[in-house]
Assembly symmetry: C2
Homo-oligomer: 278 residues x 2
């Protein structure tokens, strides 16, 4: 199979390296950043560069750009893909992407499957890409109702070949709702956490809990602004939810209600243990 990767950042670069390491497929890449292409060729992470006009020779095109760029690239080049080929994306939101590109591609005889490789690092760019980024990660697919099942099977098999720990299928709505909780809210909370006036006094007074809580505050604000804006209501619901719960703890402490506070903490511990076992 001939695969093209559009965008050799952290995700695209790591996919290329994993494809070359773990599969027999050929892998070409397209990026406006000459250094990324040169680095990928030098590290043998790709078989070579590919141009937009050569995309018609590829069986699978993986678009690994930020959300708005992903939509723009696919729409602008919708006629350049091979008829019957598969185009996937790698964005952290799905409804906004799928709604924008699926129909235009279908009209061109191209199959689009929204995908979300659930992995990342607090660094961006090809320089940080690694061939084992997806070893413990889920690969989420959000196939639409009309997509032939064989396309889902092919992409699923490819994800396992690349080295993902598991492949999960979901509707776009379910994906966006759960991701608002598991990923987007974590980034909002981390970002809000570091804004206390106590922050710059913490040196020597912090341990693992502080480090874990604030790790993802080091984020790419351009990409995350796009992601949040494309998933507004589910994220607003999750922020409202955690604010309401934080207020319960606050009020129990303020009212010196030790029993109420203990119960809030106990419920949280039990939910955490339950989710670990699910």
């Amino acid at each position: 199979m001939k695969i093209a990767i559009v965008g050799l950042g952290l995700i695209g670069g790591s996919l290329a390296k994993a494809i070359k390491k773990n599969t027999e497929h050929s892998c070409f890449a397209l990026d406006i950043d000459r250094a990324a292409i040169a680095g990928a060729v030098a590290q043998e992470a790709i078989d070579g560069e590919i141009t937009v006009d050569e995309l018609h020779s590829c069986d699978v095109v993986m678009v690994c750009l930020h959300p708005a760029q992903t939509i723009n690239f696919i729409i602008e080049n919708k006629s350049k893909f091979k008829k019957g080929s598969i185009v996937i994306d790698s964005c952290g939101v799905k409804a906004a992407i799928v709604n924008a590109v699926e129909k235009p591609l279908a009209d061109e005889g191209v199959h689009f499957l929204g995908c979300h490789p659930m992995a990342g690092r607090e660094f961006s760019g090809f320089a940080y890409s690694v061939d084992n980024l997806f070893e413990k990660a889920s690969f989420i697919m959000t196939p639409s109702d009309e997509l032939p099942v064989r396309i889902v099977r092919e992409v699923s098999q490819l994800a396992y070949e690349i080295g993902f720990a598991r492949v999960v299928t979901s509707t776009v709505e379910e994906h966006d709702r759960i991701i608002a909780f598991t990923s987007q809210l974590a980034h909002v909370v981390s970002s809000a956490y570091v804004k206390s006036p106590s922050l710059l006094k913490q040196s020597g007074f912090s341990a693992g809990s502080f480090k874990d809580m604030t790790r993802v505050a080091k984020l790419n604000e351009n990409m995350w602004t796009e992601l949040f804006m494309m998933n507004r209501q589910p994220l607003i619901d999750e922020i409202d939810c955690i604010i309401a719960h934080l207020t319960e703890y606050r009020d129990a402490i303020s009212a010196e209600d030790a029993d109420g506070l203990r119960e809030l903490l106990k419920t949280g511990r039990e939910l955490k243990e339950l989710s670990n076992n699910s």
Copy 2:
């Protein structure tokens, strides 16, 4: 030097193991849990058991109990310590402990120094204690104005011998204010985080950020209720602070204010980077 450890839980047990591994001091322990004492003797984590009536033979007594128990134990046995000896505690709050025990011990001719070994695990008890728990940890001391400097020097030297990465000195008020942010707030946020209705759907949809954010929700609710109740105002201030900041993100998303949201995220990233370098 002859050291006694009162309470062979995670912290007391890890201190005992580190003392035996890294120092030449003798180390005895006292615990109502027979299994903890038996285990510590079998693992050679202590030189033997000690009774309350033998505490007068010890140069340093480390009380490693929960906060309320720490106060009760010290007050009940204030006459049992050797005159001129040092008693330290290991609680995560300092003003409530120091205010309760320092004067009664001073009246007995015993030096009390409030201490906080900044390490933990999401498990409790001697069974989880390890001899390297403190390798990368800070050891915080909150000496009172009247304490002779040589006591601070002795405990500081002992902490370095035990293997702490660094020793930090602070007032009790500063300690409690910063710990409300770096440790207590992290536990409240983690506990509140897991209360979303989305929690039990997250399997397959979560990566590192979710795992880090919710790790310490698995807490001992009895100990943390005591800690929070003994540090109410600083913790309330921090919870109010993060709620106010979360509301800013929420309102920017709700108002479709992408520029404002990007600025909020950018400020968070810059603060995180600044705090990493401090």
